[in-house]
Symmetry: C2
DNA sequence: CGCTTAGTTGAAGCGAATCAAAACTAGTGG
DNA sequence: CCACTAGTTTTGATTCGCTTCAACTAAGCG
């Protein structure tokens, strides 16, 4: 859980990303290799709750998150659903499409917060990748990172207690929302509501709430309202989160 | 769960794979593009329980399973462990190594049955991949398939009941062990013991055993001893396994 | 034949889900 | 600014499914 993520090179950063809290630039400029990406990018904006792709639809374009947070959701006809991944800027929606042409998308992509995407039409994107080895490498790296994260999450879902899951989740969001470059307050805003957290860690809303209350009571986290995390004892959380 | 897997081209097949049950050839000959792989392959044999790589070790070589079944295991210092993937011939151990050079392996690779591997030393393998686009594509496809499977398993671990998990597991093994080409008896041998099944589906040995007994009692599966599955009602299992 | 290991079955305990209701937050309009 | 409402979060009481603990059975092997 919570690998430090060795400063991921941004996939596409037309405008410089800035920290939502302190306004400091979040990532350095995109390497020259990726400049051509911006040429074929088409921007798209989504409000919270809106979906970009539905599970079962044909996958049309490739896409990258330029701001906000999106979730990948699976399952659900009888109400049960599981979030299989969260996407923060500047993540790329790589594995989000099925194999070859016209295969149906394996999960629904939904905006959690206000979300902006860069869409890359299939044909020109694949052509660009074919003649840009550096880009292909990045794609491969992202796929590997996603796989490692998915498997970490398998351990969480298969073997961890409710307390451990919530602690792990907080560490994960902390790492994603507060890059080392940003030196603002030692807290962050939760981009997800309790229902989404529950879907991500495989618990119910009530259990998540109870565990959050317990962490507050134990002084491991300090909050201001249900979404604003003012302070976290990272070391302590790591102990609680377990292996 | 249990996507039909559109006849995966074998990664490396020095000798033709044969069905463990009926001896029929399991997969067609390897495409010409992959012939050079066999040139750099070094075979390795492992007995059940032996490990190929330990979680935390430096990843040395790439590898492919040529026969038998291997498991990828995570976690474990306090006894809890989770199997994050099973490898059947002719699977490739792609995501099994960390990033770049000398990064530590993210999980332990252990033989479940008698296992034979083809090892590919890092340098020549990467050189070969760099000049063989078809191979690179195969690698990418495998990574994507593994990611999809890992996320299917996240749904299983996060949201399914014990009964659904065991049914899903049986379907998964059925699909892996009984390729459509093989027309032998409508059963298969479980390559894993109850303990490994439990680690894979996130339950305890006892619960797995109970659910298996229930499936037998309900007539959904017929067994001869604890490992030999004589017959399965695939359609019924799919209903039980849930979405 | 005893020993070991794997699997099955039973009884009791516990952690998370479920059911239910109160407290809080945010948005809207008087 | 405050009252009103809709949605979210928190808290409590109870239930249920899985785990835990424990005994027993079956198969492999010196």
């Amino acid at each position: 859980m919570s690998r430090p993520a060795p400063t991921p090179a941004p996939m596409a950063a037309p405008q410089g990303q800035t920290c939502a809290l302190c306004g400091a630039p979040k990532s350095s400029a995109a390497p020259a290799e990726f400049a051509q990406l911006t040429a074929i990018a088409r921007p798209k904006t989504l409000a919270p709750g809106q979906t970009h792709t539905l599970q079962g639809d044909a996958a049309r374009d490739y896409a990258a998150v330029t701001s906000g947070v999106a979730k990948l959701v699976k399952g659900a006809e009888d109400g049960r659903s599981q979030i299989v991944g969260l996407l923060f800027a500047p993540d790329f929606l790589g594995g989000a499409m099925g194999a070859g042409d016209g295969t149906e998308a394996p999960y629904t992509i939904e905006a959690v917060s206000d979300l902006t995407l860069d869409l890359f039409p299939r044909a020109p994107f694949e052509a660009l990748v074919a003649r840009t080895p550096a880009l292909e490498t990045r794609l491969m790296d992202q796929a590997r990172d996603e796989l490692l994260l998915a498997r970490d999450w398998m351990v969480l879902l298969g073997r961890k207690t409710a307390r451990e899951r919530v602690a792990s989740f907080l560490l994960h969001v902390d790492a994603k929302m507060r890059p080392s470059a940003c030196a603002c307050a030692p807290g962050f805003e939760l981009p997800l509501g309790r229902a989404d957290i529950a879907d991500y860690v495989g618990l119910t809303i009530e259990t998540v709430s109870r565990q959050m209350s317990r962490l507050k009571k134990d002084g491991v986290i300090v909050m201001d309202g249900p979404k604003q995390v003012v302070w976290v004892d990272t070391a302590q959380l790591q102990v609680i989160a377990g292996f």
